[in-house]
């Protein structure tokens, strides 16, 4: 049992394809693990036991009939509760959608099913993906499997915690300002934000449409690549979906190397607010890259200093507009409809009741930033900063193949520590946000434990748009070198649950 849940996705799929394991056995092992530990971790909001076993049974039947199986057939996956799932509850971590059962599948959900991936259930998240700690979930926080009193990162904390506690082999997240990479960093797992437009947003509940990007979460770089190939690719149902071939990410993950590559280190991803142990592990990673044959180049990207400020104007502005659809009329919660109130009043009362603090804060902030008189000073200026960030990246990628940085300035902080201080919470996204603003691709992978607290540190790799394969090429090389140095995967050092 224990052995099954510790396998990688690549190993699991191979054992199922060869008949060494059945998909049902694999799924049952994970359902048993969820049963045993999720009360403590709270990675899942909804476990679809019957659906998962039915999907697994179908995989086994397909194999028995000699039909061709997908590359991840029978591998169990935890799906962030932001993707619609036909017949299975979808809440986005919010009370306003409590009990809602979508009548359709998101494109990502559809592609997972078509690839014979087994969807175990829906994972916990910050409400509407707004947050850096998973404390903003209306259904209670998720614990970090390294230390249950600490945050698992946000907003996709449930997905990463499910991986780190071996409740699922693969997971899906979404990354608007770092919500895939940041949880990956603080849980010692791998997370990838693909190029904007690479993975369809159809059926993914919208937070900030120009920034939101779905992507793979896994325990190894190769597993993330295998999942990337399943979910990426053009979708006619999403007008922002890129109509171009998916870069060869799996091939890159199987052939990791940095020899002869130029790797950029950005001056602005340094400075105050960075934990000493995080900086130490990052510096060691830069040394490692040199040892592996890369040339390291210092870069200056002055506009990155304004990225956090611009992000916290653009994302709330788009969210205040996107969340207008939660009006209590067609789906979700309705409060105060007593026959005397107008539709407008019912909407206002329902939204007050259904939204949590962080969502309300951002809706008000966005309404303010977009209001007449302030539009140019805030939203307009933020969009200019966005242009400057894109130009800084363009200039940087003329000199280097990839950029590296710490993924987060600190390791996982204690649950509740930053709850009443929004600005302190927003700092967690310092290193991840420039990439969302420019739309290019980035990955986080483990690069060791911070000496002062024994918690995981993430290394971020950033690549130009549509060059997602470079992330996997560099990531696989770094991962292999660290595996050799440590003698085992970093997760094995996590205190057992």
């Amino acid at each position: 049992m224990t052995d099954i849940i510790k396998l990688t996705a690549a190993e699991t799929a191979e054992k199922i394809a060869s008949g060494e394991l059945t998909a049902v056995e694999v799924t049952e092992a994970h359902l048993a693990r969820i049963e045993a530990v999720d009360e403590k971790v709270h990675a899942f909001l909804h476990v679809d036991r019957e659906g998962a076993l039915a999907q697994a049974g179908a995989v086994d039947a397909k194999r028995a009939a000699g039909e061709k199986l997908g590359p991840l057939a029978g591998v169990p996956l935890a799906l962030k509760d932001i993707f619609t799932t036909e017949g299975v509850p979808t809440t986005v971590g919010s009370k306003i959608l409590e009990g809602w059962i979508p009548p359709y599948d998101a494109t990502v959900t559809k592609r997972l099913k078509a690839a014979d991936v087994v969807i175990l259930g829906k994972t916990n998240m910050d409400e509407f993906a707004m947050g850096s700690s998973t404390e903003n979930s209306a259904y209670g926080p998720t614990g970090n499997p390294w230390d249950l009193t600490r945050i698992p990162g946000g907003s996709g904390g449930g997905s990463s915690a499910a991986l780190a506690s071996h409740q699922a082999t693969l997971a899906i997240g979404t990354d608007t300002g770092g919500s895939i990479r940041q949880p990956a960093a603080v849980t010692g797992t791998v997370g990838v934000k693909p190029t904007y437009g690479a993975v369809s947003r159809y059926g993914m509940v919208a937070f900030s449409s120009s920034l939101d990007q779905g992507g793979p979460c896994a325990r190894t770089v190769l597993d993330a690549a295998l999942l990337h190939e399943v979910i990426a690719g053009h979708d006619v149902l999403d007008s922002t979906s890129i109509d171009a071939p998916v870069p060869p990410v799996v091939e890159a993950a199987r052939n990791g190397t940095v020899r002869g590559m130029r790797v950029g280190v950005v001056k602005q991803f340094r400075g105050e607010g960075y934990q000493a142990g995080v900086v130490q592990r990052f510096d060691e990673s830069v040394e490692l890259l040199k040892e592996l044959g890369a040339e390291v180049v210092e870069l200056d990207c002055p506009s990155f200093d304004l990225a956090l400020s611009a992000y916290y104007l653009i994302a709330p502005s788009e969210c205040s507009s996107n969340l207008a659809r939660f009006d209590a009329m067609r789906y979700g919660l309705r409060v105060g409809d007593d026959g005397t109130r107008s539709a407008e009043d019912v909407t206002a009362i329902t939204r007050e009741e259904g939204f949590g603090d962080e969502v309300k804060r951002r809706v008000i902030l966005g309404t303010y930033a977009l209001s007449s008189g302030y539009y140019d000073a805030y939203y307009g200026s933020a969009q200019k900063v966005r242009t400057l960030i894109t130009r800084d990246f363009e200039k940087a990628f003329e000199q280097v193949d990839v950029i590296v940085s710490p993924t987060t300035p600190t390791t996982a902080f204690p649950i509740g520590e930053r709850a009443d201080d929004p600005m302190a919470m927003y700092l967690a996204d310092l290193c991840t946000i420039p990439t969302n603003m420019a739309g290019n691709a980035a990955m986080s992978l483990p690069c060791g434990l911070a000496p002062e607290d024994g918690l995981p540190v993430g290394l971020q790799i950033i690549a130009p748009a549509m060059k997602d394969d470079r992330l996997y090429k560099v990531g696989a090389a770094v991962e292999a070198a660290y595996l050799e140095r440590w003698g085992h995967p970093l997760l094995e050092e996590a205190p057992s649950l």
């Binding site: 009548p103 304004l306 400020s309 789906y331 008000i364 933020a382």
Partner: protein, 98 residues
Amino acid sequence: MPGITREEVAHLARLARLELKAEELDHFAGQLDDIIGAVARVSEVADQDVPPTSHPLPLTNVMRADEVRPSLTPEQALSGAPAQERQRFKVPQILGED
């Protein structure tokens, strides 16, 4: 840059269709003031001759053929409705009595 007052938060909440409680108005006014103070730095570039970027992709209008295709049934479309009547969404009154 002007700070954000309690009255302003109340006005914004009305615009955003959020019926905030009195204590929330106080709470948010303080926090939003801090946030605005911190993010207002973006206006440092406001005078520069920089074109704004609203989206990482150059968006063009994507059209498809105007054909009838299978879609959700009325039952599916109404399945999440808080109230329904005769295959329609039932909503509270929109116009006043006078």
